[in-house]
Subunit: 770 residues, 2 copies
């Protein structure tokens, strides 16, 4: 835990430069607009610890996998979101001496991520080796209004000298991924050009052939007055710049405003990108930095209106939850169904920016409640479009007849993970993708989605499960061999309870949806059946048999479901038995030892209890929680939120709060010592769930939204907003009462502590905490 | 199956050039002398399909592993036997036109590996593009008398022209491994020099720092008369040569004799290697090619005397078995306890030339019976010297207090495999290493080995097993979780029957040996116990408890032991149910599907039945054989021999012969389509076992050797030789009788068909086949 970032309700504040933590701060202070993003790097030269990162959504590279001996069914490549051209760079030279905070004396340093208005601001004073002192202030953002652009306002004031000030704004495409498997560079240069106050470079990704044009245009101001300048064009390999030298006078502020854009062939024809970029940047320059910043603030205000969570009485908690919400909406805006949510968003390279089951299991519930339904729908459509690839994936593994296995890690629908021993057998992801459809329809009542897209996906998934099980002569049951459950600290186990449960649920849900679609639109149903050669009677007979005769490991004596057949053969210890020096075990123990231990990385049986909570009585939930919680090391950021929700459900308020704390400031406090690689974007949705589904007790059932809030005693109050079928609700809980506010004009009926409550439009009600 | 190689009792014959199979032929016609070796490449330029390979025993490179995400306990590197300098090369130019069989018309081509005398011979006629015709004959060998040297006699005769003939003998160290993980070259140049008729290059391996000096010295003859010549020295990067131009007249034979050596820093101080090489090559040149060849023939005759197997009535079988014996003795001579037997010997790169459990499970029984006992003893000493590393290996995985886990793949005692998902958990290898000690002592009665070395290894191994099991509260037994058995088509399974059996046997044997050593030499025992902090009472109490309460999966109804706990949950099929197009499944099926299937790569439960045959009655052996044999796909070359021995034991003569056939000509017929990578050296020892332990029924029990031969009906007779405790026996079996010949002077008592037979020195007896 590092406590160098200051608590603030709306900002992330680094006061004084913490060079040793710079890569962490860079992750935390990342900016993004759903279309492009970047780490909180410095504009000027910095020779200290830094991971430079600029990313363009959807632009990836299929890096060669690293695997000892490739085997049939292994992925062909490991997709990486590319580190793209750096467009923020401005070299600052004072009498030909380069400003570099790593070699200067620095004071009055401040770096602030303003989450309310969506920008990053930095200011400092520095004394160069020559003794010359400058004051610098910089502000920048990735525009969510013009989402292929960013803008920077960068000011330098000489404090104790008159001198030659040279500013060289540049675009540098000669970058590499730190996580490249074979240290290769992934970009080829296509074109570059420079002009007066502008420069453009067009790069093309190797293999995938994406074109990205990164352009910049800049203006100069002296004490706020725009000035003309002479510039020297610079062209190097994959690098363009413009060098400007000025006579700078003591106390006078020189400001460079830089507009930049990333135009990619994903959104534009790849010829004519330079021409487009020039026009695009001209329009931005006409609009001007201040106007862009105002529009940015307004756009963020519009988002906060629908998603904000307020916490009274705990600034750190308030900051933590807003940070999570802010990063989630920076990463994915829901505008483009070709995009998805990489586990690190635009904040780092790790996990390749690919799509994981995190999207369905964690992010969709978040976007459903905080954004327009089309956002979650676009995430579903993303998977719908990948269905043919999922069928192909399953085919590579030997499955037939339209069985679909969605990839664990993907960019374009193909499986592209890099790690057999965990990922390959984590087939439970298929269940999450089906469940997300259920979740979406339950929330929105958009049954048309099932008719148009959902059923086809569900049938593909059901076909997979039907083929994936086999009949055990020994058990006289269906079994599912050789899987990895959500707990990635076991692999190739038999009958993972969660996976078996998910598989049966998928079969049941597919049958239910088929019936519903047949009723809603018999013609479309018939056409679909024909197209995908779906033989309802035969396939559903098999499905029913599997559901009826599936093996679920459990121990009656303990009254718990077993994570897998052999779980109780393991030495039974609890986390309390662990030497603290052995934690986290994934850094301290051999993989071999981890696999054999009973310790659980992340919720597994409890993931099932969370998803299918209403199937189990409280005593069963409690017994399983009591058994598995002490064995869970929570070494995945996706784990504590699930335990928080279950603990809240079981009335274990202190436990719920404890788990919540582990998630909400995970990155701000660098809890797992890995924030320097980037932030845990997808698990931030889990934090939201811990508040809304945990403390707020929010559930959706039979077309209504339910709440059962309690306010952790460390807080005075907390409040969250929920969008539900055209209504916007604000739910605020104190220790003693709950206030539900209907912020929309139409009336709404909800349930609070299982009691029906009807609210007129724009009305509020207060209910005493039960 | 390819049938282009001609049957011959003593030779491998390629008649006519089979360019498409050239890499296979190169593997098969490899030469070696235990210290160095090479593939059967051409001396002259060849631009066709070829894998050039020269290897120096013990000289390896720790290549970076390829693994998605490295985890604690994974190997740090993957060791490769290096492709070393090519010393056979001779560029042949006719009026400046290069001789290259890929661009010529070729006739009268013959390439012959003479196994009786240990050399490779080649001759052909070729018409160059210019129409000029030459006749070439070449003969070479790696000397087992001067085991750092090789020699070549290379003759060119112009058939239809007088012309300028240019011969450029060279040494080329600018080579790479085809299997390099990151396409890197592994050698740095240290020194090179050329002189009149000689050239030297000294290379150093990256990282490991081995120096290898490869030198050559050559002479020229015209129609057998030595001639003087002028030579042009050539030096390129890691390359030295001498270019000689001669006026060649039609019908006149120009012969180049090239002597070469590999001196490595493994055997010599690394300074002064050039000086040593010059002296060494001068002595060889003084001895001359013919004398070297005579010595080579004599040395091979001495080997054949002790190990030959003769088969009457089946030339292909005779050729097959001799090929196996020849390759085994080319690979390992037992002179140097730092060396071991790589699965491909000197015939290719694959499997890195490292040491596997193949050595203990397959090769030691072979060398015990066919060579001086010190050969097997050196193989044991090799592991003894690695004991500290084995303890370190176990430590990396979390084991303590002197527990030793020998690596699955090693060069210097460190684990260096490249494939988590199979190799990591194949801990049964530890048992093979213990069992080899037992096997050696049973065979030789060298109990002093136990006192001096054996017990210490056995205690380290016993400590590993004691810690590796855990108590299952569920089963009220000790269990062994997360292992891979000999069947590599399963992994991370629980309670592999073979592994559990081996573990218990190791514990029992360690206790037995401790008692024996205490009796033989109490003082040494005490010193050892002190040194390794061995607390006999406590540690053996644990061991006894484990042996008494180990869980062994079995099915009483079927009367079989179960390969692992979940084996019967798998869909039960037999190999006959497989579509022939699906075989070999390791090339046709996804890894995922293979893991879930019941199909067995190589003997697993049956490996245990083979090793501990005397523990089980015939009915039990038969039930298990009948159950597992039909499920075994034999996609490891180590598998059929074990089944052959068991089939023979059960009287299933046809089956035994069928399995034997799959092993004996595996490489000659390229049965698995992979001989081009190199020959399956270690499994060749399995072929020997199939003959001697299978058809010969050879066993050692209570200090005596037993035989129970039967002659397959496809043969008139077969005979093999056995060295046993100072005696040399020849056992010959026909359909009707068995002749046992005592080729040594001292009398011997043996058992034939369980009847005691005593033979005086140099006497023979005939026994009718029972």
């Amino acid at each position: 835990m590092k406590n160098y970032l200051k608590p603030d309700e709306w900002c992330i504040v680094e006061d004084g430069f913490h060079a040793e933590y710079n890569e962490i701060t860079e992750s935390v202070m990342s900016l993004g607009n759903g279309r492009m993003g970047q780490r909180g790097n410095f504009e000027e030269t910095f020779s200290g610890k830094s991971l430079s990162g600029n990313y363009v959504a959807g632009v990836y590279y299929p890096d060669k996998t690293r695997v000892g001996w490739w085997k049939n069914g292994y992925p062909e490549y490991f997709a990486k979101v590319l580190n793209a051209a750096n467009w923020i760079g401005i070299i600052v030279e004072v009498d030909y001496e380069t400003l570099d905070l790593n070699t200067c004396e620095v004071w009055d340093f401040s770096r602030v991520l303003n989450m309310r208005e969506g920008y990053l601001e930095r200011s400092f004073s520095a004394r160069l080796k020559s003794g010359k002192e400058v004051k610098v202030s910089a502000k920048r953002f990735c525009s969510i209004v013009n989402d292929e652009a960013g803008a920077i306002q960068y000011s330098v004031t000489p404090l104790n000298f008159d001198a030659k000030l040279t500013l060289t704004p540049f675009v540098d495409g000669d970058v590499r991924n730190r996580d490249a498997n074979y240290d290769e560079k992934f970009w080829d240069e296509v074109h570059k050009e420079t002009g007066y106050g502008e420069a453009y470079i067009e790069l093309r990704t190797k293999k995938t052939g994406f074109h990205v044009l990164t352009g910049m245009k800049f203006e100069l101001f002296r004490d706020g007055q725009r000035i003309d300048f002479q510039s020297l064009p610079v062209k190097l390999e994959k690098y363009v710049a413009n060098k400007v030298s000025l006579d700078a006078r003591q106390g006078e502020e020189i400001t460079l405003v830089k507009y930049a854009c990333n135009l990619s062939s994903l959104n534009h024809p790849s010829d004519g990108l330079v021409f487009r970029a020039k026009k695009y940047l001209s329009r931005l320059a006409d609009k001007g930095f201040e106007q862009m910043a105002r529009e940015q603030a307004q756009a963020w205000a519009d988002k906060w209106k629908f998603m904000d969570i307020t916490i009274e009485g705990d600034t750190a908690a308030q900051q933590g939850i807003r940070f999570n919400l802010f990063q989630l909406f920076q990463t994915y805006t829901g505008q483009d169904e070709r995009l998805n949510i990489g586990p690190k968003g635009f904040t780092g390279e790790k996990y390749g920016g690919s799509t994981y089951w995190d999207t369905e299991a964690y992010c969709i519930p978040f976007y459903l409640a905080t954004a327009d339904p089309k956002v979650a729908r676009n995430l579903l459509i993303y998977r719908y479009k990948h269905l043919p690839k999922a069928i192909e994936n399953a085919g590579k593994l030997g499955f037939k007849a339209g069985a679909a296995l969605y990839p664990m890690v993907t960019m374009n629908g193909e499986e592209c993970h890099n790690e057999w021993e965990i990922t390959f057998e984590e087939i439970h992801r298929n269940g999450a993708i089906a469940y997300a459809i259920f979740d979406y329809v339950r929330y929105t009542n958009d049954e048309q989605y099932l008719v148009d897209f959902g059923l086809e996906v569900l049938i593909g998934i059901a076909r997979f499960w039907s083929q994936r099980v086999n009949w055990s002569g020994e058990k006289q049951k269906y079994v599912m061999l050789g899987v990895t459950g959500p707990n990635e600290y076991e692999n190739n186990v038999n009958n993972n309870w969660y996976t078996n449960l998910m598989a049966c649920w998928c079969l049941e849900y597919a049958m239910q949806v088929a019936g519903r679609v047949k009723a809603l639109n018999p013609e479309k149903y018939r056409v679909l059946c024909d197209r995908i050669h779906f033989r309802e009677q035969k396939e559903f007979a098999t499905a029913k048999d599997i559901v009826a005769k599936m093996h679920f490991p459990e121990n009656e004596e303990l009254g718990v479901f077993l994570q897998q057949d052999g779980y109780l053969d393991k030495e039974q210890l609890t986390v309390n038995d662990l030497n603290p020096g052995d934690r986290p075990i994934n850094q301290k123990w051999s993989w071999d030892r981890i696999l054999r231990s009973c310790f659980i990385k992340q919720a597994d049986v409890l993931q099932g209890m969370y998803v299918f909570e209403d199937r189990y009585d409280e005593a069963t939930l409690r017994r399983n929680y009591d058994f598995y919680e002490p064995r869970t090391v929570h070494e995945s950021s996706l784990s504590p939120c699930v335990h928080a929700i279950l603990a809240a459900r079981l009335g274990l308020k202190d436990k719920a709060y404890e788990f919540y704390l582990r998630t909400s400031r995970l990155d701000l406090d660098d809890y797992n010592n890995d924030t320097e690689d980037g932030c845990h974007i997808t698990s931030m949705a889990g934090t939201w769930m811990a508040v809304v589904k945990g403390f707020g007790g929010m559930r959706v059932a039979e077309g209504s939204v339910h709440f059962a809030p309690f306010c952790p005693e460390q807080w005075r109050s907390f409040a969250f907003k929920i969008r539900f079928r055209g209504n916007l609700l604000n739910v605020k809980a104190t220790q003693s009462e709950v206030m539900i506010e209907n912020l929309s004009a139409q009336p709404v009926s909800i349930f609070v502590y299982n009691q029906a409550v009807t609210l007129a439009g724009n009305a509020a009600k207060v209910i005493l905490v039960s």
